[in-house]
């Protein structure tokens, strides 16, 4: 079992340890992105367009996008 997985945030690859969450992927890429989501200035959406929470589990290869205007989020 690989210790790391790679997800894509706004198209950029981010490699984090397995077991980490959306929050860690954002921190890993750019702390400011995490802060924007934490503070409600943006929400994270998956490739289906669904909002995902900061505590959401990651799946290898998953793609996330920051929606700076969107709502209907969760942690």
């Amino acid at each position: 079992m690989e210790e790391r997985l790679t997800v894509f945030v706004n198209g950029k690859p981010v490699t984090v340890f397995r077991g980490m969450t959306v929050k860690h992927a954002l921190i890993s890429l750019d702390y400011a992105l995490y802060r924007d989501v934490r503070d409600g200035k943006a929400v994270v959406k998956d490739e289906n367009g669904f909002t995902v929470g900061l505590g959401g589990a990651l799946h290898d290869g998953a793609r996330f996008y920051l929606d700076m205007a969107g709502r209907t989020g969760c942690r």
């Binding site: 079992m1 210790e3 790391r4 490699t15 984090v16 340890f17 397995r18 077991g19 980490m20 959306v22 929050k23 860690h24 992927a25 921190i27 890993s28 702390y31 989501v37 503070d39 409600g40 200035k41 929400v43 998956d46 289906n48 669904f50 909002t51 995902v52 929470g53 900061l54 505590g55 959401g56 589990a57 799946h59 998953a62 709502r71 209907t72 989020g73 969760c74 942690r75």
Partner: protein, 510 residues
Amino acid sequence: MLRNGKKLTASLLLLFLVVFPLTFLSAEAAGAPVGITILHVNDTHGRILPEVEKGVNKKRPVGGAAWLAKMVEKEREKNPGGTLLLSAGDMFQGTAVSREFNGKPVLDVMNAMKFDAMAVGNHEFDWGKNVLADLSRAARFPFLSANIRDGDGKRPPWLKPYVILERKRLKIAVIGMTTELTRYIVKPENVKGLSFLEAGDALPPAIKEAKSQGAKTIVVLSHAGLDADKQIAQEIPGIDVIVGGHSHTAVTTPVVAGRTIIVQAGCCGHFLGVLRLKIDPESGRVVEFMKTRVLKKVYSGPNDPFDPNIAGIVKRYHDRIKDRFSVVVGETAVDLVRNYGGESNIGNLIGDAMREAEKADIAFHNSGGIRGNVPAGKITLEQLYAVLPFDDVLVSMDLTGKQILLILEQNAAVERGILQVSGLKVKYDMTRPVGERVVDVEVGGRPLRPGKSYRVVTTDFVAAGGEKFAAFREGKNVRYGDDMRDALVAYLKRHSPVRPEVEGRIVFVK
């Protein structure tokens, strides 16, 4: 005889004409699609009080068990006798009140709300198997997972693979599924002796067994995440609905993969999932389902209706948490004072606690994660929550001396929020250029060797590269440990009164 025969034929014809339509109508009524409503939540993470979640609504509070319960009550009234209430796991870990009472506040709420079943999530193991088994025994609904086995290959006694729920004479099997990655993402001691089978090995036999018990409709209550759920739906036949969790996805329109409908209700109790189905009672197949408005926001402002009984349960625990917070967990002989720009005695204390908890050579903790000071004297739990307000968990890994040197050089380059250390002494010459400032490093009293592997513990925040310490992302043999606060409480209980000093672990030559 003939006449009598004609009479008999006429009588039979009359009987046929009268009875057959009645039978047909009766059969049609019995065979008409059954309306079933699945109410669901997932990843509530201990949240039983409302909160303002700006991503959901800037001002109006959302979540809160009492408000959720009221919505459930209203939905049940719309389909009496045809409603299920399910949880897809990760219900307990995540708030102080739930942590301090080992999940009991959440369980009491779930019992009172009459949940029908809950899948076991990975975070259900955060406080160890025994706590989870106790919760399961105290629950008035089954804890489900078809893919967890103990050392003998059997299912733990506190766990059921599935439950068959009967609604409107339709037997619905609800089968639990826990992410198979649990063994990698939970503190190893907490899942020792357990194995987590892949869905392809665990679900087909469970589906077969449930069908042999008369189940017509198959619902998988999955704590595996939306992407994994889609894969399960594509690869494993016979699943009608997957009620998911783990990825905290607010599935606003049901996903259909193969012939399986997949839903998930975000997280934190901010949403109630409402899936309305029409099911053919003969085949158990879903013939129709509502495709919109499947997630309802749980608004919990002053004008939103709530369940007073559930509110009473929540209040009782919150009254008790005040007492629990005042419990003394240790004592310090000196003031514990933080310092973002240099070594601090509270940073040393926390680092020592981390290193002891994980039996590591070195601990690193970000100064920005230490949010308060503690005066000399008794230390209460409330003070610890103020000092460490973030829900960080320990992450340990192997790093080479060379990687540690890189981290230390990065440490010398940050203006504020340096890493506090334990097990290590470092001297920086700040007159030298960035990247060449580390002039001396000792680990356990010996010079750091660039080629040697050291066991290093830090927090999940730092391990992800937080505060730009990217070298942690290169670690190997990663292991998740306890919550930071739990590690500190355990250390204080063992070593109080503590007397941490600023002792030259981090020295700047200017």
